[in-house]
């Protein structure tokens, strides 16, 4: 099994806001990210696929094909867009880095699976060089639910 990763960069704006909370609670939990006028990032999207190299080409997948899929499925929807306002999946879901990683998986997985061969293995979304979220697919469940640091805010 070989893992192959391709990166792409997109620039987008967003804000964090839970409609069921008061403005005060939103500001308390999300801090500066709750600014309703939004703010932006240069995101880095990392897509990892897993498979065996083709015996003829030596490719796990064709990198140009993967680039095209990433541009068509993700960058066309997110690059130079406002995540909350332009991407339908974030109409009711807060576009945190975690949720962007999950949404990118949902956008990419059908096209990669349909092509046969390699499978989608991992999505990483870097919000800044020092902050990232990762999603490895719906098969991974939380086996120990941590509660100590949740729901207190």
């Amino acid at each position: 099994m070989v893992f192959l990763t391709r990166r792409a960069v997109f620039s987008a704006s967003h804000y964090y806001w839970n409609e069921f909370w008061t403005a005060e609670k939103n500001r308390q939990v999300f801090g500066r990210c709750a600014n309703r006028n939004g703010h932006g990032h240069n995101y880095t999207l990392e897509v990892t696929v897993a498979g065996e190299p083709d015996p003829v080409t030596g490719f796990v997948v064709d990198l140009k094909w993967l680039k095209d899929v990433m541009e068509r499925e993700v960058l066309a929807a997110y690059d130079h867009k406002h995540m909350n306002l332009d991407a339908p999946e974030f109409a009711c879901v807060i576009p945190t880095t975690e949720n962007i990683a999950i949404a990118a998986w949902k956008r990419l997985e059908p096209a990669i699976t349909a092509a046969g061969g390699a499978r989608l293995s991992r999505i990483r979304v870097y919000e800044t060089p020092d902050i990232f979220a990762e999603y490895r697919g719906p098969h991974e469940q939380v086996f120990v639910r941590g509660v100590k640091d949740r729901g207190e805010a």
Partner: protein, 136 residues
Amino acid sequence: MKAYFGRRYLLSASHRLHTAAFTAEQNRAAYGKCNNEHGHGHNYVVEVLVGGAVDAETGMVMDLVKLDETVRARVLDRFDHANLNLDPLFADRVPTTENFCKAIFALLRDALPLGELEHVRVEETENNYFECSLGG
């Protein structure tokens, strides 16, 4: 649904790779220039990856501010601008980056909710790094 959240931190520390179990010659042979008597230092990058359910209300795996506070209290305040050899954790262990990574993993695992710490990666330089994970 499980997702992961990662954060990178910087700390600067000195160390010397040397073990009392070896002769001076054996230490030089095993550790090379890292055995220099007066030590040397690195800008370490500590990457912390936590995994868990994405909270339905916040959209977050873990509050970044709380993670920062935990890493600061347990790791950065202790090791940043310190000599690793003088820390009690390394009284009987050589502060290789492997052992440093294991120590940081244990300190954070004990401070975070059960099962949330997925891995710790410590980059000693741009060209080498070490990882400890939950299963390891």
